[in-house]
Symmetry: none
Subunit: 147 residues, 2 copies
Amino acid sequence: MLIGEYIHTIDEKSRVSMPAKFRKELGKKIIITPGLGTCLFIFTNKEWEKVSKKLSDSDSDLSFLKADQRNFNRYMFGRAAEVEIDSIGRILIPDFLKERIGLKNSAAIIGVGDRVEVWNDKTWSENKAVVEKQAEDLAEKLATGAK
Amino acid sequence: MLIGEYIHTIDEKSRVSMPAKFRKELGKKIIITPGLGTCLFIFTNKEWEKVSKKLSDSDSDLSFLKADQRNFNRYMFGRAAEVEIDSIGRILIPDFLKERIGLKNSAAIIGVGDRVEVWNDKTWSENKAVVEKQAEDLAEKLATGAK
DNA sequence: ATATGAAGTGGGAAAAAGTGGGAAATAATA
DNA sequence: TATTATTTCCCACTTTTTCCCACTTCATAT
């Protein structure tokens, strides 16, 4: 399971280390796509097969209009890239994806169960603060609602 | 059953001893996560499987399509870590989790039945006083059937 | 009191992870 | 084709993490 948060440098050649703890599960080749929200998604090959099958299945339970689905698929498929992890665990993120989330020198790499997310480190810490607060509210709700 | 309260040092290498009484039940690898409120949760692998299944199982297999779910998963998975208990019973708490609850030199480690909680020792002693007062009332409420 | 063992703490050395950069290989351009 | 730029591969440095050993404290037993 892919979990945890890592802040890694993006060097002048655009290389980023995948956290060592992720490497075994990720394998040699990964799929990197624009994500939802201000981040990128990285899937293992296996996970990507599942995801892409689901997305392209027009009979799926996704409540998309056909046109919406086409556009969504263009978004997810058209801008996805298969990327190889080099011998010491680094990948290259395509420029058009880096641009999308404003990646420059430093990235937050997040394990979210069955996928990895890549964030601009600053955006990540901001988002973290927001979600932290939401979680507290949720806890509060649960606590008061339970009584 | 994990019970009891222990105050342990966090050394310069971020190591903390798990109470000896917890070790057998915890096993070799544990999952440490941001809890709710001002503490961290430690789960056994077995417990975590239950918890994580609940978290990631949504109505759709594509849980990432829902913004709320995305954020919650980011919170619970992205800020969790699988950590190994070393040969003499110590663990390493990731910096991003220490930061979250302001852990520095000393931690309160609390057994709470099927999980362990980690507190900033000061926060713990403050809360303890409050909770102690509330405990009686709470017991009363629980006994009278309110959930 | 002294010995014994278990638990917690500290620190040095080896290994691993992350980062940077040069040179070869490939592609692009003139 | 020659030249330049880009990508890939490999090596090296630095920092962090891991592993192992040792010291201390506390409780129990002799």
